[in-house]
Symmetry: C2
Subunit: 171 residues, 2 copies
DNA sequence: ATGGATGCAAAGCGTTTGCATACAG
DNA sequence: CTGTATGCAAACGCTTTGCATCCAT
């Protein structure tokens, strides 16, 4: 129930919970942490999956066990705030939808996007950031971040299709 | 007037004009190279600038000197075909719009996107592709391409504002 | 108490589509 | 000729917004 300890194992360097972080951000702008906003943040940070606006809307738009129903408009408004607050970020575009992920307490990484199954797979590589930092410097560009999608076919989809005969083979 | 030689200086390794390339692609699908489609391809390949759908629409939707008026629907339909044909590709997302660029006859490159002026600046770097190829291989991912946006402030916007006094100084 | 936030429904905006007509092969 | 493409306007899907009401501070 104590949200400040939730997920600590996977967000080792984080000391403040996402909700708390959001409250702080809102305070600096004289905005308020409403129940609706808190519900949305909890829902988003309940796991580490990528998500799009509509997924959150459909989870929160119908009445839920803990009673936190939130309207579509508020979800959209809050996602924008969360992005400004640096809690989430748009990570890629898949199926013509913007895909978000947590941008708070997680190490930098990029994504493979499978052209067959549309799945996003994360990977980490130190070199990329350092190359980009150097190239940016060379061009007098003040890099603040990047977005990298590697397109192709994921390991799973590249596998030969599963044989239907396995069961028969075993008889 | 001979389109097959247009732009050759900047597309050295290309022997077939974009229009011709498109015609070939269309032929393989029993589709036709109409006047409208040709007008669009010529407009797009008249220069090397990045563009979005709406820019092309507004240039071709109103009557033009050479009479090639094209409807909004046809522009959208043709841009999709051109992407399939490998003549153009979506290169970034800026101002909530998809930005295209030529993907025929030009070397691989990536982009800086300025958060102030929203401008896209190209840069080339060999290392990035090779790092990505290696990382993909390590993950069993069959890379077919990538899309990389480096965000930050461009050299121009990072400069101190222009002084208004220069003329006075010269008196 | 009071300025900010919510929910609803309507409007926006870029893009796609159904259909009758026009035209390339 | 015949099947494909076009133009128009209507439909779409996602997102934003105006407004009356609600609520965190």
């Amino acid at each position: 129930m104590n949200s400040s300890t939730v997920n600590d194992l996977t967000r080792p360097e984080v000391t403040v919970s996402p909700v708390e972080k959001f409250r702080e951000f809102l305070a600096t702008r004289s905005k308020r942490l409403t129940q609706e906003r808190e519900t949305i943040v909890r829902e988003i940070f309940a796991d580490h999956e990528h998500f799009d606006s509509d997924q959150i809307v459909s989870r929160l738009t119908q009445p839920r066990r803990d009673g936190g129903r939130v309207s579509r408009a508020t979800v959209y408004r809050t996602l924008r705030e969360l992005e400004k607050a640096g809690l989430i970020r748009k990570v890629a575009r898949s199926n013509d939808r913007e895909v978000y992920e947590h941008d708070y307490g997680y190490p930098q990484h990029d994504h493979f996007i499978c052209e067959k199954c549309n799945q996003l797979v994360e990977f980490r590589n130190e070199e990329i950031s350092s190359v980009l930092a150097r190239v940016s410097a060379e061009h007098g560009f003040r890099m603040s971040g990047h977005r990298l999608e590697v397109h192709g076919i994921c390991a799973n989809c590249a596998k030969p299709p599963v044989r239907r005969h396995r069961k028969l083979d075993m008889i």
